[in-house]
């Protein structure tokens, strides 16, 4: 067996090793990694900083993977020397290891500009997992942070610090943010977006000095202007790590020079990734590096043939709600036609650059949903003459928007990992894949930035025989349509009653499955302005109480935030005695349940209680569980009681696809278990985390972070946006945790809290319309919807037994 040594345990190196393994090589492989972690997804470091992902969620290869493939993994060892003649490498631990073939995948290091005082405490770079962890530690609410560098990484770092509560300023050398990827107009749109998110942007500033004694206290720019900053992050670009190449006597310019086969000037030494210079270009984005890895894997295993011929630069900004994509040529030039679309209110700017009916560049700000289309046009050099009318607006898909079906097999689905539609489909067939997880594991598709997840799912859905997500499930035999279709039908056909839907699109009868679902649907679509038909509701929603096994009912009054008063408790006690309530029980939701009540007593009990309905019997807003927060608790950092009570007040009396249980806690000790609720507000010093999709039922699921905001009003608004979005898009009886898992939290974020302002405004308006038309159901005690709603019918004549 030949010894192959890989220096560098990062994405490019390990991706190449994965490809080498596919060639069934005759190598024993040793990987040296300077960091002490297994290979992780560096692209997602900013998600770790922003709290959207945990550090352990971004690992790409487990220790078991290394073991399974017989790879010797030596972590925490930096290779300091290469001897190209003896063919050995020397580690900083003094170890000397021989190789037959050497693969340098040493990546890059952050470029630190010449600034006085960068060695001061409080100054960080942002390049690896340890940097991300250090920044997470440092990013305390209220800290003034400055990020030097308004490129991709700088902006992502800025947003990450900002969601953690820091007051962030981005300082950029030039007059355009992301100037490598955007033109001046695109830069202005991006700048506006960043400012909107609360990140301050300073352009045309040359930083000359970090102020402060031993700790950073601020920055000084050329010309003498100063800003305060006690946390400084330098993200001013990267430099290839090419020094080992030099030690090995390889040809090195900016990076280690390689040819189209990824060969260096030494026959047994190869290089891949950010440390490499190919045809004068050093690549810093993952897609071309994966491409290089594939070529190199062929070369190094004796299958020399495939060539790397360079790649179009393509970049995507990974900040939720700030869509930026750019590929190919950015600036206008002679002979290039520009097709442009702008909508300042929506913050959308799109520009295509064409030469002789071929796409040569694309810039998308504000909406980058179609980026894969443009990437394919760029890559294939497709003739666009026939598409000129639709360049920026895709032709309507022939079959219900399943645009994956229209893609040719050669089209790339995953731009990060370079996986084509054809490769995915053959993997699904050959390996019998049925889940996204299996697809990721097998093809690596969707393991980069994750933006192709939907496409991958569409392909699985279309091709996998037993795809596990049964999305096309019809509601029931009475109305054989999916709920998504039905919602659309109700909306477009202006159907306002359940019976109308059943008669026009169904069998006219309906059943216990479709009637409550359709009842929910007409109420939701028309924001309460529908024709209510109680016969289509479950008994609980006809009498506003929960039917028990013996046909009696239970009564749970609303006690917002679990807060009550002595007077209320007295009335509850009186009611319990007066109506011979069989049991009085404190529920798990900080409320009181009166069990064993006769239907005919319900209106009288409600009147005596003088409290509103707690909706404990319905698919609706249950409650907000709270801890005492700053009101009493000596550890509290946020006023969870008032936030919780207000949240409950704003959402109560509305129907939802399934029950919605919420929680608000004043500190991360999480005493009211907000992280396993459908919607949770988790207070921390100076900010709230709004989390959604938690579960503590049959299975337990930790809620996903929707957004981190500074103030209580912002937290409430984020919760409302999610709430209304869930009402509008979830299927009936789909809990938030299944809903969030089905859609993916990224999509949910993008369509709620990070949606363009007009979209958010529309969500808010529909919610407030529904809220305005809603009322406490127990008021029907005074105005029943039917004279016999609660009463037991007495026969007109008595019969003797």
């Amino acid at each position: 067996m030949e010894e192959l040594i890989v220096v560098g345990n990062g994405m490019a190196g390990v991706a190449c090793v994965e490809q080498i393994l596919k060639h069934a090589p005759k190598f024993h492989i040793t990987i040296f990694g300077e960091e002490t972690h297994v290979n992780y997804n560096r692209i997602l470091l900013s998600s770790v900083l922003a709290g959207e992902k945990e550090a352990d969620e971004i690992a790409l290869n487990s220790l078991e993977w290394y073991q399974k493939h017989g790879i010797t993994l030596r972590l925490g060892v930096r290779i300091v020397d290469v001897d190209p003649v003896l063919k050995t490498v020397t580690g900083d631990d003094g170890s000397v290891t021989s190789f037959d073939k050497l693969l340098l995948a040493t990546g890059s290091t952050p470029f630190v500009p010449p600034i006085d005082g960068v060695e001061k405490e409080g100054v960080y770079t942002f390049r690896n997992l340890d940097d991300a962890r250090a920044l997470v530690e440092q990013a305390q609410p209220g800290r003034k942070a400055a990020v030097i560098g308004g490129g991709l990484l700088g902006l992502e770092a800025a947003r990450g610090l900002q969601v953690r509560g820091c007051d962030v300023t981005v300082v950029h050398l030039l007059d355009t943010l992301m100037n490598m990827q955007l033109d001046a107009t695109g830069g202005r749109y991006l700048e506006a977006k960043m400012q909107q998110l609360g990140v301050r942007v300073l352009l045309n500033r040359i930083t000359t000095r970090v102020l402060g004694e031993s700790r950073a206290e601020g920055l000084e720019f050329r010309g003498g202007e100063r800003i305060e900053a006690d946390l400084v992050v330098i993200a001013a670009g990267i430099r290839p790590n090419a020094h080992l190449g030099k030690k090995a006597g390889l040809k090195v310019n900016r990076g280690i020079v390689v040819n189209d086969y990824l060969e260096t000037s030494h026959p047994d030494i190869f290089a891949v990734g950010e440390c490499v210079e190919h045809r004068g270009v050093v690549y810093g984005l993952v897609a071309p590096l994966v491409e290089q890895g594939k070529v190199l894997a062929a070369t190094i295993t004796g299958n020399r043939g495939p060539q790397f011929q360079g790649a179009q630069p393509a970049a995507k900004l990974k900040i939720m709600g700030v869509d930026v994509f750019s590929a190919g040529q950015v600036m206008e030039s002679d002979g290039v036609e520009v097709v442009r679309y702008e909508d300042p209110a929506m913050g959308i700017y799109q520009k295509l650059l064409c030469r002789e009916n071929k796409l040569v560049g694309v810039v998308l700000v504000g909406d980058a949903g179609d980026s894969h289309r443009y990437v394919d046009w760029l890559r294939s050099g497709a003739d666009l003459a026939g598409k000129r009318r639709h360049l920026l607006f895709p032709e309507p898909a022939a079959d219900g928007g399943l645009d994956a079906a229209q893609m040719p097999d050669s089209d790339t689905v995953c731009g990060c990992m370079g996986v084509t539609k054809g490769a995915i489909i053959s993997a699904i067939h050959e390996k019998g894949l049925n889940t996204l997880a299996q697809l990721k594991e097998c093809t690596r598709a969707s393991t980069g930035c994750g933006s192709c997840t939907n496409l991958c799912q569409q392909l699985l859905r279309a091709v996998a025989p037993d795809f596990e997500e049964d999305k096309k499930k019809v509601l029931c035999g009475c109305v054989p349509f999916t709920q998504e279709n039905l919602r659309e039908m109700v909306r477009t056909q202006r159907l306002r009653s359940v019976q109308e839907i059943l008669e026009i699109y169904g069998n006219g009868a309906g059943c216990e499955i479709c009637k409550p679902a359709l009842s929910y649907m007409v109420d939701m679509v028309w924001c309460g302005d529908h024709e209510e038909d109680r016969s289509a509701r479950f008994i609980n929603d006809r009498v506003h109480a929960n039917i028990q096994r013996d046909g009696t009912f239970s009564v749970v009054p609303r006690m917002r935030g679990g807060v009550t008063t002595p007077a209320e408790l007295r009335r509850i006690a009186d009611v319990a005695e007066k109506y011979h309530v069989r049991m009085v029980k404190v529920t798990g939701s900080q409320r009181i349940d009166l069990l064993g009540v006769k239907k005919s007593d319900l209106p009288k009990i409600w009147a005596d209680l003088g409290m509103p309905s707690g909706q404990a019997y319905t698919k609706g807003v249950r409650m907000v569980k709270t801890c005492v927060g700053t009101e009493f608790c000596r550890f509290g950092t946020q006023d969870s009681i008032h936030a919780g009570v207000e949240l409950e007040r704003r959402l109560e009396n509305l129907y939802t696809p399934h029950k919605v249980k919420m929680g608000a806690v004043g500190c991360p000790r999480n005493c009211a278990e907000a992280t396993v609720k459908d919607i949770g507000l988790v207070g921390q010093e100076g900010s709230w985390q709004v989390v959604v999709g938690g579960a503590a039922g049959k299975h337990v699921r930790k809620a996903d972070l929707l957004i981190t905001v500074e103030t209580t009003p912002e937290a409430l608004e984020a919760a409302e946006l999610f709430f209304q979005y869930y009402r509008e898009h979830a299927n009936y009886l789909e809990r938030t945790y299944d809903f969030v898992e089905r859609l993916g939290i990224e999509k949910v974020r993008k369509e709620t809290v990070y949606a363009p302002e007009p979209v958010k405004q529309a969500l808010r308006e529909r919610l407030s319309k529904a809220k305005a038309l809603s009322r406490d159901a127990w008021l029907e005690r005074e105005e029943p919807v039917h004279p016999t709603q609660f009463v037991q019918i007495q026969p007109l004549e008595e019969v003797l037994v």
Partner: protein, 110 residues
């Protein structure tokens, strides 16, 4: 056998049921749109109140565990293969009143 005057049709909303206690029996009366059907108000499964169920065509679904009962003949149609059922009562609409026929020993009080 005796016919008993139960209630006016307006007291039973369209596609809903109401329970009525008469002659020692608890009966669920349903309004199927101009037609009224009556069955024993007790699901053969666990005794659930059928009058509180959702009407599905000519059947009612028990609110406790979704057993489905035919309102015409009282048979259980879901789950399939159950041989038990509930008693049914003949009904008629006369003089603006719903009448139900009781079997057995009861007799109308004067």
């Amino acid at each position: 056998m005796s016919w008993v005057r139960i209630t006016i049709p307006e007291n039973i909303p369209l596609r809903e049921g109401r329970a009525v206690r008469v002659g020692g029996e608890e009966i669920a009366v349903f309004n199927l749109g101009g037609r009224f059907l009556a069955v024993e108000n007790r699901c053969p499964h666990k005794g659930g109140p059928l009058a509180d169920g959702i009407v599905s065509g000519g059947t009612v679904v028990c609110p406790l565990h979704n057993w489905k009962i035919c309102l015409e003949n009282g048979a259980v149609t879901k789950p399939a293969g159950e041989s038990c059922g509930v008693a049914t009562y003949a009904t008629r609409l006369e003089d603006g009143v719903i009448w139900i026929e009781l079997r057995g020993e009861q007799e109308a009080a004067a």
